[in-house]
């Protein structure tokens, strides 16, 4: 009887310790999850800003201006173009 009781006590103690460690782990994981979520949010924000930046740099008005003024490009006249037929 005593042995059984001791065994049960031992099991109870182990269970209690298990609960404690599981709780601890859960908190650690939660903190990590929280950090990851914040990171995701930050990346989202950065992505939005990068998109804005890209749109600003790739603005058609700007591209045209650079092409014309800096690179001295111009659209070819009708006579300077040649249409190639697709190979059959």
């Amino acid at each position: 009887m005593l042995r059984l009781n001791l065994l049960l006590l031992l099991i109870a103690v182990f269970c209690a310790l298990g609960t404690v460690s599981a709780n601890h782990k859960a908190r650690k994981l939660l903190a990590e999850y929280e950090r990851a979520q914040n990171h995701m949010h930050d990346l989202d924000v950065e992505w939005g800003q990068l998109q804005l930046e890209q749109s600003t740099w790739a603005n058609h008005a700007r591209i045209e201006q650079v092409a014309r003024d800096k690179l001295m490009m111009r659209a070819p006249g009708a006579g300077q173009m040649m249409v190639l037929e697709a190979a059959r």
Binding site: L30, G48, Q51, S55, T56, A58, N59, V83
Partner: protein
């Protein structure tokens, strides 16, 4: 001395005293029991709540508004987080040096800041929508009573180019104009909240429950093609300056799908900086302003004439001296053309010719056609202030009105309606709805308004209008066959037609297999020219040529190359 021998014990006290003590103690116990009963049973809910509030928090998770993208997924509107700085004026007791520092960071006048802090309210916004790094520097000052909160600001990288199409939002992130308003329900996110447990150091240790899951606003992919939009914007802007026009609009439609590839209005505004915004700039003219279309309306009468079998393209019509009297009024042509075929009536844009044709129909036949083309009713795209123009019931038409309506007077339309109605000619006689959003599958054939044969014959007439001898040779584009119609309408003011004009051109290309419709409207060109063929047609040509090249549409007219093909062949 032992306790048992204490003389005090020998003292006999009256039993009433001990009973009193017992009674007092009993009363104490009863009070305790009662109190604990009260706390444990009756007040337990309240107390538990109080306890929870010590460690539980409900935090709001904000949701971002969806982005607006063009058809190639380039961003047209993006929300980025910013901060709002607010204060509790009572707590904000700032030293003059601190006040100056804060005013400097907020880019405000110190006096103005002082006034804001002097109000007797519990909450006052000092400045909204400031960059996060500035807010961080303000927070680092650790000023009493000064706080910040997260909010979002909407940026429009393409600025004034897409202003009317996209619209804008207010400080509260709600759509106010354009697509931002029309599709607000899709774009808007729902902020969520969740209950958490925080420890002593303010770290979240447990997620108790999610009360509302936040929903990010969904992205919207428009049919708009930013490149074509830019072309339309720059061409229209140029034409506005050259013609000293009051206003203007351009709509570009995809013939195959009915998608709106570009929509530009002038004058425009910069949605990122709306400090000085006037009503005229805000108007999305393509949707909200009606105008009398003028001659761009004539092809519909020609189509009806062909459809009813009363005329053929080569049926001669006598336009005589270019004058025709109906009742008290006289219709004029710009010059006398004499005998013209129906096709030439369209090519030369003869008012008399088309009026004669129109008088061979019953008013309700004409009304039926206009109505089925979508005139007189808004397109219902959800744009704010979208109007349908006016198309009066056929019963009230007098013959003179029926005649003037055939060349687009006495009726009013919006530019987008006109562009859409031309779909029947560009397609094989069927009318499909226009779409602001990118259509990933081509729409099914719409209602058949005219037969495919009629549409084809009108296309040929419209091609003639662009050829030499027509009204708009300036609409030609090298390498492509173009079809279209000019319009030059006088504007009615207070019931009288005045010497102010609306010049327009609506056309499509390549005529052999139409791909795009471009509709151009220039309001009150006040330089020396005002004809649609001089003012609007070059804008059309500029946009169409660029757009067709952008889309890689095969040419349907052989170019005459300067460099001979043989020379290139050797290199290959």
């Amino acid at each position: 001395m032992k306790y048992a021998h204490s003389p005090v014990l020998n003292e006999r006290l009256s039993s009433s005293r001990s009973r009193l003590v017992t009674l007092v103690m009993m009363a104490g116990f009863v009070a305790l029991a009662g109190r604990s009963l009260y706390l444990q049973v009756f007040a337990t809910g309240f107390l538990q709540k109080k306890g929870e509030s010590r460690y539980e928090r409900v935090i709001e998770t904000s949701a971002t508004r969806g982005r607006i993208l063009d058809r190639h997924n380039d961003a047209l509107a993006v929300s980025t987080p910013v901060k709002a700085v607010w204060a509790i004026p009572e707590d904000a007791k700032l030293a003059p040096a601190q006040l100056h520092q804060l005013a400097g960071l907020l880019e405000m006048d110190a006096g103005e800041l002082n006034r804001k802090l002097a109000v007797s309210k519990e909450f006052v916004f000092l400045k909204r929508q400031i960059p996060p790094d500035t807010a961080a520097r303000i927070a680092a000052l650790r000023l009493p009573g000064i706080h910040d909160q997260n909010e979002y600001r909407r940026y429009y990288p393409s600025g004034e180019m897409t202003a009317h199409m996209i619209g804008f939002t207010d400080v509260g992130d709600a759509g106010q104009e354009g697509v931002e308003l029309a599709l607000n329900d899709i774009l808007i996110g729902k902020s969520g909240s969740r209950r958490i447990i925080k420890d002593r150091r303010g770290q979240i240790v447990e997620d108790v429950e999610s009360i509302r899951t936040p929903q990010k606003g969904r992205d919207v992919t428009l049919a708009l093609d930013e490149k074509i939009q830019y072309l339309a914007y720059s061409q229209l802007k140029k034409a506005m300056q050259e013609n000293r026009a009051k206003a203007g609009g351009v709509v570009v439609l995809d013939v195959k799908t009915g998608e709106v590839l570009a929509l530009v209005n002038a004058p425009t505004y910069n949605p990122n900086n709306r400090a000085r915004l006037a009503g005229a700039q805000l108007r999305n003219r393509a949707f909200t302003d009606t105008f009398e279309p003028g001659s761009t309306f004539k092809p519909f009468i020609a189509a009806l004439a062909l459809e009813k079998g009363k005329y053929r393209a080569n049926t001669p019509i006598n336009t005589a001296s270019g004058k025709m009297t109906i009742g008290p009024a006289t219709i004029h042509d710009t010059q006398a053309h004499g005998m013209l075929t129906l096709a030439e009536v369209i090519q030369k844009s003869s008012n008399v010719g088309v009026a004669k044709v129109s008088l061979s129909f019953r008013p309700d036949e004409m009304w039926q056609m206009y109505s089925s083309l979508g005139f007189g009713a808004p397109l219902k795209l959800g744009f704010p202030g979208e109007v349908g123009g006016s198309l009066r019931p056929a019963k009230s038409w007098r013959p003179i009105e029926q005649a003037t309506m055939s060349y687009g007077h006495g009726i009013s339309v919006t530019l987008i309606q006109m562009a859409r109605a031309y779909l029947v000619f560009a397609r094989d006689g069927d009318l499909i709805p226009v779409s602001l959003l990118r259509a990933d599958t081509p729409p099914q054939a719409g209602a058949q308004i005219f037969s495919a044969r009629t549409a084809q014959e009108v296309r040929t007439m419209l091609e003639m209008a662009v050829e030499p001898g027509g009204t708009a040779p300036k609409a030609q584009i090298p390498g492509y066959r173009v079809a279209g119609k000019t319009g030059t309408a006088r504007k009615p003011e207070g019931g009288v037609y005045v010497k102010k004009y609306v010049a327009s051109f609506i056309g499509f290309a390549p005529a052999s297999e139409p791909r795009l419709i471009v509709a151009v409207m220039i309001d009150e060109p006040s330089a020396d020219k005002y004809y649609g063929g001089d003012v609007a047609a070059p804008v059309f040509a500029g946009i169409m040529a660029g757009a067709l090249r952008t889309l890689g549409v095969p040419q349907d007219v052989p170019l005459k190359p300067l460099i001979m093909a043989e020379a290139v062949k050797e290199d290959v």
